[in-house]
Each structure stands twice: as structure tokens, then as C-alpha cells.
Subunit: 215 residues, 2 copies
DNA sequence: CACATGCTCATTGCATGCAATGCATGCAGA
DNA sequence: TCTGCATGCATTGCATGCAATGAGCATGTG
């Protein structure tokens, strides 16, 4: 079971920025650091490569570094999938399959996200924001979409780590979260899908200036 | 490099139905069959598991067998992604970024798909149909979407292998392919997205009777 | 006769040795 | 000084040994 724990720990290290994009990862080095043999590290590398966090087949794996265009492509797929999950969640709400507690939960996540970001706790804000979006995907009750989104969120998180941007957009983000929330609560699939798509694409546009790649 | 070839060969065997859904795959057995050691087989297993073709954590991997609901969930994600690729392809056409030869190619794929299916060459029809959809995804020029769709197509192909159904729907399928093609050719993203979504969801509905799972 | 329990064996997970490969570095010659 | 080549090294890919674990089966008992 060391393979799985190794995979998890490595993923955390990458998502934390401990291994920033472009870092080179060697089997021996990581095996030594984590105190396991090369085999589980090797398999963890494969898994993370499949998840789109590592790349560079052959000699030397590196943490993926997406350029602006690739990041935009990831965002477009994310927008399509989040439009789907929002639509499905709204459908389930309309069908009466969502418990009030679940919606309350979602509202609280939106609140906490806004508060954390407004208070300047950027790391917590990023985490809560992701939790908010993920909760919607859970309410959609489609594991396939959820899994695909998990991968995309990981990729985006890695590539936008350094640009933990200031809150200027905080108000807009929160307003869009509320709009999405309202559409789901109202059981309006079309509105929910549209709100989700717009929100994600706006976020993409806001992240784009992160094209200050050097090194 | 035996890992990669092993992965490819195993994928082919699974997609061909040589290892039908539910089959149990053992490292030693496959290693013996393919004439390699357990290590590359092991890694190929991991990769195919990540691709959603194998499952069954822990003791004994099996070829995934999706029930009707899971298959429908895959189809909904596929519909969202194919709507996106159709939209992107149409956008590129509108922007004049698609060469006429590329569209001609696509038309020919639609033709050949229709002919093969109408002639009762089901296997060839399935292959060509997939090639048609894939070509659209290629024209969308979004590798992220293309990769995600490749995985979904694989999963669907495995789970609908046994129900290589008769052509009754042939006419409808071809008509929808033409509608999609026309929307892309016309550079109409909304129409293309709608056509793709409807086509995929109709296909899902047609595949649903495959719920005659026993064994 | 059914169910629980203990045993045996197949199968996987992990570690490590060995061979191959690609890269960097340093030296020699132009 | 620059270029080309050769050599050494770091690193990965693959094979295999060993230990652990879970499953299936047989047997004994209620």
C-alpha cells in the first residue's frame, strides 16, 4: 500500500508548490526522501503522469508546466464539465433529490470561501473555492465527471500556484458563486449551466496574466 | 519500452473483447502470455486502471463492467465534451482555420461509416464511427478534450461490445452525422454543439437496452 | 446438515540487482 | 577558441526473490 500513500504524498507536495512546475523528479531521490524503495515511487510516478501532473516521458520526469494556451484549453474543458455538473445538480434539485442540508452546506462553503478570500487568507480561499466547486460536482451524482474534474483542478492548481492573485476579483467571484447557487437552488438547469460556464471562463481570463513565465 | 507495448497490446485485447468485461487478469498469466516479466505488466495494469478499463482495487483486477446507470453517466460526460469539441471545431471553421481538405476528410469518414454500417460490416462501422467523432475532436485542436474523450470512448466500447447492434438506427445516425457536419462546415458553434449533444445522447438511449447483463 | 474455523496456496506488493541508455564532461585536434 | 569525440556516470527499465495477505477449501463441531 506504499504505492498509494507515496502517490498521495507526492501529489500533495506538487500541489503545495514544494515541487514547482518544471522540477525534475528522480526515482532514487524521491525514494530516499519518502523512505521507500524505487518500485512504489515508480508506480506513483506513472499514476501522477496519467493524472497530468507529471510529464516528460523517458529520461527524467518533470512537474508539468502549462503555457498560457494549454492552460486555456484545460479551462475550456473544465468549463464544459462544470456546466454539466451544475446542470445535473439543478436537475436533481428540481426532481427533489437534493436534501436541504446539502444546499445549506453548499451555501456555507460559498460564505466561507468569500470570507477567507476577503480576509486575505489566500491559501484557505483557494482550498475552499475548490471545495465549493467540488461539492457541486458531488451533488451532480456523476462520478465520471467528478473524477475528470478532479484531474483538471489539480492541473490548474499546479499551474496557477505562483500567481495566488490578489482579491480585486473577490466581489465578482462571490457574485458568480451566488448566481450559480441560486440557479441550482431554483432547480433551473439551463441557468445553472450558463452560470457555471461563465464563471469558469471568467476565472480563466483572470488567470491568464500568469504568463510571466521565466526561469 | 516493454511497458508501453504491453499496455497497447492489452488495451487492444480488451477493446477487441478478447478479455470481456468481468474477466480477471493476473500478472503472472499475462506476463506469460505476452512473454515479458511481471514488472511491465504491472505498470500496464496501473495505466489501464487509470484509463478506466480495469478496476477492482486490491486482490485481482478485472475488466470494468459498467451497469446501465454508470454507462449513462459516461455518456453524459461524453455528450458534454463532444458538444465542446464540435463547438470548437465550428469556431475554428468560422475563423478560417480549417483547411478544406480537413472538412473533406471528415465528410469521407461520415460516408464510409454509413456505408460500412449499411453493408452490415459492424466492426468496421464501429471503428469508422469512432474515427469520425475523433476527427472532430482533433479539429477542435484541444488535446485535453481529445484525451478525455479517448478514455470515454474506450470505456463505452468495452461495455457495448457484446451488443453490436443491428442497423435499424443507421439512417438516424447518418442523418445526425450530416447535421453535425453541416453545422461545423457552416461555422455555427451553437448548432454544432447542439447537434453533437443530441447525437451522443440518442446513442446513449439506443445503447441502453444492453442491460441484459448476466453471468 | 449448516456454519464456523483453521489451513493451504495462489497472487500480489515491495525490494533490489543488473543491464542499457542517454547525458555531461573533459580532452584533443584543428 | 571552438568543435568533435570518447569516456564515465547518473538514471531508468526490467527481472526476480521474498514476504505478506486474502481467498478458497476442507474439516470439525454444534
Amino acid at each position: 500500500m506504499q504505492t498509494e500513500t507515496t502517490r498521495r504524498r507526492l501529489r500533495e507536495l506538487i500541489l503545495d508548490g514544494h515541487y514547482p512546475p518544471g522540477s525534475r523528479l528522480g526515482e532514487v531521490e524521491v525514494a530516499g526522501t519518502l523512505g521507500v524503495s524505487r518500485t512504489p515511487v515508480r508506480e506513483a510516478f506513472r499514476a501522477l503522469t496519467a493524472d497530468g501532473l507529471l510529464a516528460g516521458s523517458g529520461r527524467g520526469l518533470r512537474v508539468v508546466r502549462l503555457d498560457a494556451e494549454e492552460l486555456a484549453q484545460v479551462y475550456r474543458v473544465r468549463a464544459a464539465l462544470e456546466a454539466l455538473t451544475a446542470e445535473l445538480a439543478a436537475e436533481r434539485q428540481r426532481a427533489g433529490r437534493l436534501a436541504p442540508a446539502e444546499l445549506a452546506d453548499l451555501t456555507e462553503l460559498a460564505d466561507r470561501t468569500h470570507r477567507a478570500t476577503a480576509d486575505g487568507e489566500l491559501a484557505a480561499g483557494v482550498r475552499l473555492n475548490r471545495a465549493f466547486h467540488r461539492r457541486i460536482a458531488e451533488l451532480a451524482a456523476n462520478p465520471v465527471a467528478l473524477h475528470a474534474l478532479d484531474r483538471l483542478w489539480d492541473q490548474i492548481q499546479v499551474s496557477t500556484l505562483r500567481s495566488l492573485r490578489a482579491p480585486a476579483r473577490t466581489g465578482l467571484v462571490d457574485a458568480q458563486h451566488r448566481a450559480l447557487l441560486d440557479a441550482i437552488t431554483a432547480g433551473d438547469p439551463e441557468a445553472a449551466a450558463a452560470a457555471a460556464r461563465r464563471h469558469v471562463l471568467d476565472t480563466c481570463a483572470a488567470d491568464r496574466p500568469a504568463a510571466d513565465d521565466k526561469e
